[in-house]
Symmetry: C3
């Protein structure tokens, strides 16, 4: 059997940004809580518990109709996957294990709204030319390894990327350790990010925490820490909150702190209204900005008010 599904997100809202270099700005934001997308996915049962799936996912801006991800048609995800009892093996343009840990476990905002963890946290979201293997979950443990080909003739280490994560889930607890590194095009240096993230559900309250260590291509080191909370007040209402601290270990000491609060009210299973406020205090000339799921922002304060529809 084979199937094809067309799916997506249409998310639009008002975004107010203050504290930027050129003054305040009011925008129509596209993909504020979740990036707007249109995808095509399919699944074929190959027998013996094995299935083939594919995902082709476009990112677009609902305010202009333009394609995101530098114009790549399926710039969000493009992959072919064979999965079965032995795990899943996939190939294409894919999320990094590091990003999945950040989005799924660490961030109460799921990298959306003014509270987007990626306003501060370093790391790459997607990598081209990847192969990835995810183990089945055994006794709560699972692992995810990903290799991104550099595709440079004569030297396979140039532009290469490597990612991996190990996770443990037991009842209310999820813990994940994720790592990612990328070689530069010359093959002379690589950046890396390592994060330990955890999430625990105390009834209606979910606590989130993450600690990441980063080193960029110039060897500059930094540390990011997050403490967050999701409070599900009712079947339809949810409060999100997070505090993030960025510590720059270089002589410049360009530290930053972000505090953010968000609220989501579900109108249906597929549609919610949301509001959020985020503020960043930059130290010593640090240039962190409050963005949204889909867009980096221009200000140190961001206010969001919008509607998200999942189809």
């Amino acid at each position: 059997q084979s199937s094809l599904t067309v799916y997506g997100v249409a998310d639009a809202g008002l975004v107010l940004e203050h504290g930027g270099d050129s003054g305040a700005v009011q925008k129509i934001g596209s993909g504020v809580a979740s990036s707007s997308r249109l995808g095509f996915k399919g699944r074929e049962d190959l027998g013996g518990g094995t299935a083939l799936t594919f995902v082709l996912e476009n990112g677009y801006s609902i305010d202009t109709g333009a394609t995101k991800q530098n114009g790549a048609l399926f710039g969000r995800q493009a992959l072919l996957c064979v999965s079965g009892e032995a795990g899943s093996f996939s190939i294409g343009r894919q999320y990094t294990p590091f990003y999945k840990a950040l989005n799924n476990v660490a961030d109460p905002f799921a990298t959306g709204m003014a509270g987007n963890t990626q306003n501060i946290f370093d790391g790459t979201t997607r990598i081209d030319n990847t192969v990835e293997y995810i183990t089945p979950r055994v006794a709560g443990f699972a692992a995810d390894v990903q290799y991104g080909f550099g595709e440079t003739a004569g030297d396979s280490s140039k532009s290469r990327s490597i990612g991996a994560s190990g996770s443990y889930e037991q009842g209310a607890l999820t813990v994940v350790l994720a790592h990612q590194q990328r070689d530069n095009p010359a093959g002379t240096a690589h950046s890396h990010n390592t994060m330990l993230a955890a999430r625990y559900r105390f009834g209606a309250i979910t606590g989130h925490t993450a600690l990441a260590r980063n080193r960029d291509l110039l060897g500059i080191e930094s540390r990011d820490a997050l403490l967050g909370m999701t409070a599900q007040f009712s079947a339809t209402d949810k409060l999100l909150f997070s505090l993030i601290d960025h510590h720059d270990k270089s002589a410049a000491q360009q530290h930053a702190r972000q505090a953010a609060i968000g609220y989501s009210h579900a109108l249906s299973r597929r549609t919610d209204l949301y509001a959020a406020y985020g503020h960043i205090r930059n130290s010593n000339g640090a240039l962190f900005r409050v963005g949204t799921a889909a867009d980096s922002g221009s200000g140190t304060t961001g206010v969001n008010l919008g509607v998200r529809h999942v189809f």
Copy 2:
């Protein structure tokens, strides 16, 4: 409940253009009678008479496969809309109220074929970053207001656009007054267009008329007038006709007149064959050209022959 629909138009034909600077040309036209498009739209009933809808509509050229609208994937329309008894509120990249009046009421050719009113009439078709509110129709009256954010930090008037229309429908008569203005990126000047358009159905004959006053960013004023007719001969056959007069109020007096005739023969509810002829007489070096629904033309005479399929 939720639904997703894939829809569109595939329109292709022969386009002959004469009277251009470089001589005559024969082309395959894409989107001659109606611009070729592929759209994804959905609707979710939110209860209490309220519904959420979204539209993502791509414009493409069937002769080359290329994306229209400067490459924007959903450059025709990209919007999220909440509608109910109190009217509809939408957000995204949307048609201007001015364009909707031109297309739906004024132009017998519905801005298509060689008779496209936009060959002569000024005005913007779509605006990015808009919010729009349309009232319910009460006692025949309805209003439509639209605001396009300029999204310029520090000065919200830069690149801003404002549009509005009021309409009256009673039996065979439709009258609409539409206005549109846009500020330039520096926020130092704005253009505007105001149009009164009417349509009246006399049995199988529909009469159309429109009068527009325009002022561009340099302050140059002009006036456009249209007189048109749609004659539905039978269930499948329709004749279209229009005369347009452009009066340039500047010292250059670059006036123009267009006459156009078109014919459509329906092969089915979804498919028709069409033919059209349009001619423009430019005065004092005016540079108006006969185009089609999707393309501006190169000549002062245009001939179309094609097929349009709506899916």
Copy 3:
């Protein structure tokens, strides 16, 4: 009645290339056996045996999500077609009759994998702005003529293209004679390609042969010859093999020979695993490279290993 179908191919694999100027390279290939694509097609029955169909087909890279065909959204195919007892007439961006003969009859690899005939054979795959007429098949014979408008004002011969083929099918035998020519933008010269191709099915073995004569815009002539075989071992397993000889008739004598072998194992009706090896021996500085269905390669040896899913 009317219908819309979303269809496509997701094909990804490992591609190893050796013998290129910059050394060996390992890549994730997208569209190795068949180019990855996503299409929308529809059909409307117009009565009397006549039907209208349209095809809008995108080509994408599964390794990056990017659009192929220089960014054209429907760069693989975009066409509207009316077909009936008298044949089919279509308009849009279409395959050349020459390419269809190469892909469907001559090449056991169907222009895919390391054995892609187009690594060596000259000719254009698709043409913009075309009208095409294909006759019904009568007593085994059919013809296909295509005209591509140059769309240059003042001189319709500039950038014009003309293609045609005649074919004969009887039982196990298919023979096709195809021709193609293109005028340059200045209208001062034209290239042309003429090919005779044949395919014969001896039970589980199919033999392929083709001979082409080419002249480029500079008047340089060459000849390409192919001998190939498809061996269907079982319902799921197939071996492909071809030898190609390129003879350069210019003084430079830049000849080339390609040998390629491929294997396909079907996992289901829609999915197969494939492997292929191709090698080119260039003479006197010829620069032919081993590519895949979707990409030209960098080496004179290519190895493929991948999975293809048709949906």
